[in-house]
């Protein structure tokens, strides 16, 4: 243990000294061809219209990008346009559909004129109008992959339960303890035996969906390389589902607790009601932000560690980068499970508080 701390301290010292060096370097950058870690990191953690695999310079000195093109679906002025993202040529080409022109700028689709001009305002934000973008982006594709994985995991496992009760085997015996854990220690524990069955599929699905997407997010290249569960749209819509379930199935006593807290004098209620009312929204909001921030932070740290090699332009830092990345990866494996557990647990807790008549605190 002593040695472990020594190594960590040493690494911290090396890193901070290099960071100071990197800062000096930073002043000189922004030239063409310089490595910009911020741009790279932002590119990796945000969504994209194609699934980037690798890019390199070939023998002729040309940039080669190998990426999987994904379908782009745009809706504008009542017409739907579907084409492959390779048509954009990484934002260099303007795509004409009917009398409309689309151009990709920083992985967002904008409406342009035939020349493909993007008007930037003083802050560098494009002023062009955006079509409604319903594309199958990298995140959507990655999410669908997680869906396929889940179906492949659970449906064959479920098939094994047919017939007489027997010993679990194979995939079934791997999944069963986890399923039982979610059932007993999350759903039944929080919602109670009576009403647990109704919410079981939701909590089960949310737990495995988040967990598997967290794990896919940790794979750095093709089948992974996305940041689905660290995307605020993803975490947001899941939080909205929990919000809807909580409030749609909320019982009389749940609403009474909010708008007419029993045993509290009326003047105090005047203060309590706004607080209670706001808490309806803050709970799912916290769910959304917690998952988003945890997963995105993990990605940023991992990418920063890798960027270190390119920022410092030396291969000798790679053992530090790799060592720290390995450590972070281990941590992220834990965080991935933990965040799925927390999301499922808190969803179950909120639902449990809303659907049960007797308050159990």
């Amino acid at each position: 243990m002593q040695r472990f701390y020594t190594i960590i301290l040493l690494l911290a010292f090396i890193l901070t000294s290099f960071a100071a060096y990197a800062e000096n370097e930073g002043e000189k950058k922004n030239k063409e061809g310089d490595f910009d870690p911020l741009e790279m990191i932002m590119h990796h953690i945000s969504d994209s219209h194609n699934w980037h695999i690798v890019s390199f310079k070939n023998k002729e000195g040309k940039d080669v990008d190998i990426a999987i093109p994904l379908p782009v679906i745009l809706i504008h002025d009542g017409s739907v346009h579907i084409f492959m993202s390779s048509d954009f040529h990484h934002g260099e080409a303007v795509v004409q559909k009917g009398d409309q022109y689309f151009k990709l700028y920083h992985d967002k689709v904008y409406l342009t004129d035939a020349s493909g001009k993007i008007n930037l305002n003083s802050e560098g934000v494009p002023e062009n109008a955006k079509p409604f973008d319903l594309s199958i982006t990298r995140n959507v594709a990655s999410m669908w992959m997680s869906v396929l994985i889940m179906l492949a995991l659970f449906i064959p496992a479920a098939r094994k339960y047919r017939g007489k009760p027997s010993m679990p085997t194979g995939m079934q015996s791997l999944m069963e303890p986890i399923i039982l854990f979610v059932r007993d220690d999350i759903v039944i524990e929080q919602i109670g035996e009576k009403k647990a069955d109704r919410f079981m599929p939701y909590i089960m699905t949310i737990f495995f969906f988040i967990w598997i997407n967290n794990l896919i997010g940790m794979v750095p290249i093709f089948p992974g390389g996305s940041n689905v569960s660290g995307n605020i749209a993803f975490t947001g819509i899941l939080a909205v589902f929990t919000f809807l379930l909580t409030n749609v199935f909320g019982t009389k006593s749940y609403w009474k607790d909010i708008f007419a807290t029993p045993g509290v004098p009326i003047p105090v209620r005047a203060i309590l009601i706004p607080i209670e009312f706001v808490s309806i929204f803050t709970k799912p909001f916290a769910l959304m932000v917690r998952l988003f921030a945890n997963i995105t932070a993990g990605h940023i740290v991992l990418l920063s560690l890798t960027s270190l090699i390119f920022v410092l332009k030396t291969i000798y830092i790679s053992p530090v980068s790799i060592g720290m990345s390995l450590f972070m990866d281990m941590l992220e494996l834990l965080v991935g499970l933990l965040q799925a557990y927390i999301f499922a647990l808190l969803s179950a807790l909120f639902i449990g508080m809303a659907v049960n008549d007797e308050e159990e605190h």
């Binding site: 945000s46 959507v140 339960y161 069963e176 079981m200």
Partner: protein, 164 residues
């Protein structure tokens, strides 16, 4: 910040995907799995309970067996004692009756012997009488010539035929 603005396209896709996933998994995974697990749990519970019951029953039977065996042993001992007593009694009785019979036989034999003896004695007397007469006749025939000699002979014979 771009990162904090949810992209409506992704929201729609995630929402749709998730709802469909919940519905599919509910029908083809969670319900069958959880149902099967519950059935299995009940089966195990039932099996455990019935095993416990069976064990109890076996114990009861064992107890009953032991009790029966004990009772049987007691009964056996009693029967053996009784049989012994009976045997002794029977032997005793047999002895008694045998004694009586033996006594009877001895008595009869004795009487028979007595009678035989009497008969023999009487027969003997008759014989002696006949012999005596014969002797007397012979003596008379021989010795009557000399009285003295006759008398000596008679005495001699009489001495020879001395019986109780």
């Amino acid at each position: 910040m771009d990162l904090l603005t949810p992209d409506p396209g992704l929201v729609i896709w995630t929402g749709t995907t998730f709802i469909i996933l919940v519905l599919i998994l509910r029908k083809y995974a969670w319900r069958p799995i959880l149902h099967a697990i519950r059935v299995r749990e009940h089966t195990i519970k039932y099996a455990l309970a019935s095993a416990e019951k069976a064990k109890q029953e076996a114990e009861n039977i064992e107890k009953l067996k032991k009790q029966t065996l004990e009772e049987a042993a007691v009964e056996r001992d009693r029967l053996i004692t009784e049989a012994r007593e009976l045997k002794a009694k029977i032997i005793e009785e047999a002895k008694k009756s045998a004694q009586v019979e033996a006594d009877k036989i001895v008595e009869t034999t004795r009487l028979q012997l007595e009678k035989e003896k009497k008969d023999a004695l009487s027969q003997m007397r008759e014989q002696i009488a006949v012999l005596s007469v014969d002797i007397a006749g012979k003596l008379l025939e021989q010795e009557l010539k000399t009285t003295k000699k006759q008398k000596e002979l008679i005495d001699k014979y009489l001495k020879e035929v001395s019986f109780n």
